[in-house]
Point group: C2
Chain length 382, copies 2
């Protein structure tokens, strides 16, 4: 298959390029280097030095003799994006090219406006490019479990049949997100669903939970192939931050009481989920939605796991509760359905002691590069 | 009260300026002249010549000795918008400044992107300006009944309590709109609700049906005070288009079978609804939603009414069904609740024979200015 990956330089985008390339698919990767620029600007760069996308593609080619076609540019520029579609005519487009940080979107008006415009215009352009070049092309879009928020009812996979006053209809599951970033993903879903039912195009929307981990079988081939690994308040997902804090001898910072529960998954499982979705596309006119997670944990449970594993390895991990900078429910109901991807063939990599130990080992190798200032930036929701 | 009106030059914005000014409130009107530019560009200008906003404010001052403070600028420019908030410190902001046409948003990618960016950045900026200058300021935002689409269940006023697997929660009523424009309004609602529950600001979101009519008590004082009156395929709401088609001896163009049902209201009632909302603001942290309509009609019922009234006046009205350019359900369930605004004090002006006859009389005065090319532009959803 011909696979176009938008946001190919990112934490998920880059290992996805390798995953498809390794399996014999023709990959084109597009990125605007937003993450590189933003992390430099905000002093919260990746733990590992990362050669740029063109360099990394060269390393991959040297090692495997497989070519990843790379284009640097911004998908909010429609002329740029459509030229890629015309040249490459992909069978599927995997859309990771969004500003992905909740705290970033809450810094101020300018960052909020950037998030809104980057995420929505990027998604609009992707939809239009598919319609104008090949309406059969399968759009695989990364949503987020954060779109649902923490409702007091069971979270279904994307859709809900509602009975009201004796009549029934089926709707997108109610969405009520916890940051402007997450809200742009809700808005994306609204827009994608509008164009799917109007134009009969096809898409899979993956409601992904927070991802952890720093390696896949492909990135393990060479250090230079590692994805970005952010451990800071802005771009670092919670488990990645906790492990790095533990290694740095910095207290694990739990926001509030830590009962906030979310569904997590290993970076390796993101690869599987996206790949399985691409190999078994949705029907024309269908918005297929999967909840992409393998295990729910509370933030406190995660901290406990990191402390247990870290202490065993001699790190003497301290856990701290800090005032919650976010506006969110700390104690809430959380019961999520996530069977769809398993039905497609997902074999979960759970968060075992072994996984945690390996995680510690890799982060420890880069211990001297940890920038402790990045752990706390003081971004508040209010 | 100090009332800031965004989109003050528009079909609804201008008569709203007069309505508040007439009742002794201090009014500041802001507009970017989008409608003037777009209608000139697309050859579908208002039936009446309209002096620009500054001129119209002068006419109003000459007639009534009441001053409307006018600023021309674009609210997607945050520096411009916040300077207005700082100077004026409004008690309420009425936000009409959106690209309001469904067909316009479906012309092509560029118009879709403009709609998305204009509507969402404009709303974001309004929310931020309120938060940064005076979080007590009441945001009155025009939504649209089109956000709900045509669900197979009763449409409640904005919210729905959902019971699922024995548990309950209350959510925004499911929204599933029929155009990209309407989808941006869904996205607006998502965003507004996010910031309200995060920051505790206050807003009223008015889910308005299609408006008809061309005069209010204030605009009737002088011809130069008339609001824009669009009767074309792009900016003309359906009844305004039908009346003008009847006067021009052009067949009334029903899209498809005409069973599409919507909730309509007279321009005079929009004035009342917005005014009543401003005088009785929502609580802090509350997103108060009203369904703003007075009577549901099917498109065919409207055409029949126009034909009956027109024939009686000697116009010999022809009704035609054309292939539906939109993707929409023609036969559907439609049962809307709309009691909230009546409880605030709305006294509806229904679509009586008398209202229709007066409507014909005014449009007939400008018969020679009707541009028949504007009735059909051939914009298709697919």
């Amino acid at each position: 298959m011909r696979i176009l990956i938008l946001g190919a330089d990112g934490y998920l985008g880059w290992p996805t390029c390798l995953y498809f390339s390794q399996r014999g698919h023709e990959v084109i990767g597009v990125d605007s280097y937003f993450r590189r620029k933003a992390t430099a600007e905000l002093d919260c760069e990746s733990l590992f030095p990362s050669p740029d996308l063109i360099q990394r593609a060269k390393v991959w080619e040297e090692l495997t003799n497989k070519k990843i076609n790379v284009h640097i540019g911004d998908i909010t520029d429609y002329e740029f994006l459509i030229s890629i579609f015309k040249e490459f005519n992909p069978d599927a487009v995997i859309h990771y090219a969004e500003q992905p940080s909740a705290p970033y979107s809450m810094i101020n008006r300018d960052r909020a406006a950037f998030t809104l415009q980057n995420n929505l215009i990027g998604t609009l352009n992707t939809i239009y490019a598919v319609k104008e070049t090949n309406p059969d092309c399968h759009i695989i879009k990364l949503g987020t479990m954060g779109e649902y928020g923490t409702p007091n009812i069971d979270i279904e996979e994307g859709w809900l049949e509602i009975e009201h006053n004796g009549r029934k209809d089926k709707f997108l599951f109610p969405r009520q997100a916890g940051s402007l970033y997450h809200t742009t993903k809700v808005q994306d879903t609204d827009m994608l669903w509008f164009y799917i039912r109007t134009w009969g195009i096809r898409a899979t929307d993956l409601m992904q939970g927070p991802v952890y981990g720093l390696s896949t079988d492909e990135t393990d081939l060479d250090e230079r192939l590692r994805p970005f690994f952010n451990y800071d308040e802005i771009f670092g997902t919670v488990l990645n931050r906790f492990i790095t804090q533990a290694v740095a001898g910095y207290p694990l910072s739990i926001y509030g009481n830590g009962n906030q529960t979310r569904g997590f998954l290993n970076l390796k499982d993101t690869m599987q989920c996206v790949y399985l979705s691409a190999m078994q596309p949705s029907e024309k006119g269908q918005l297929r939605i999967f909840n992409q997670l393998t295990e729910p944990f509370s933030v406190r449970q995660l901290a406990d796991k990191v402390k247990m594993a870290g202490d065993k390895l001699g790190y003497n991990v301290v856990v701290e509760h800090i005032e919650n900078p976010r506006v969110e429910q700390e104690d809430h109901y959380y019961n999520v359905k996530y069977t769809g991807l398993k039905q497609l063939g997902l074999q979960p990599n759970y968060l075992t002691d072994n996984v945690l130990e390996n995680f510690f080992a890799v982060v420890d190798k880069y211990k001297d590069r940890i920038n402790k200032d990045a752990f706390f930036k003081g971004i508040k929701w209010k």
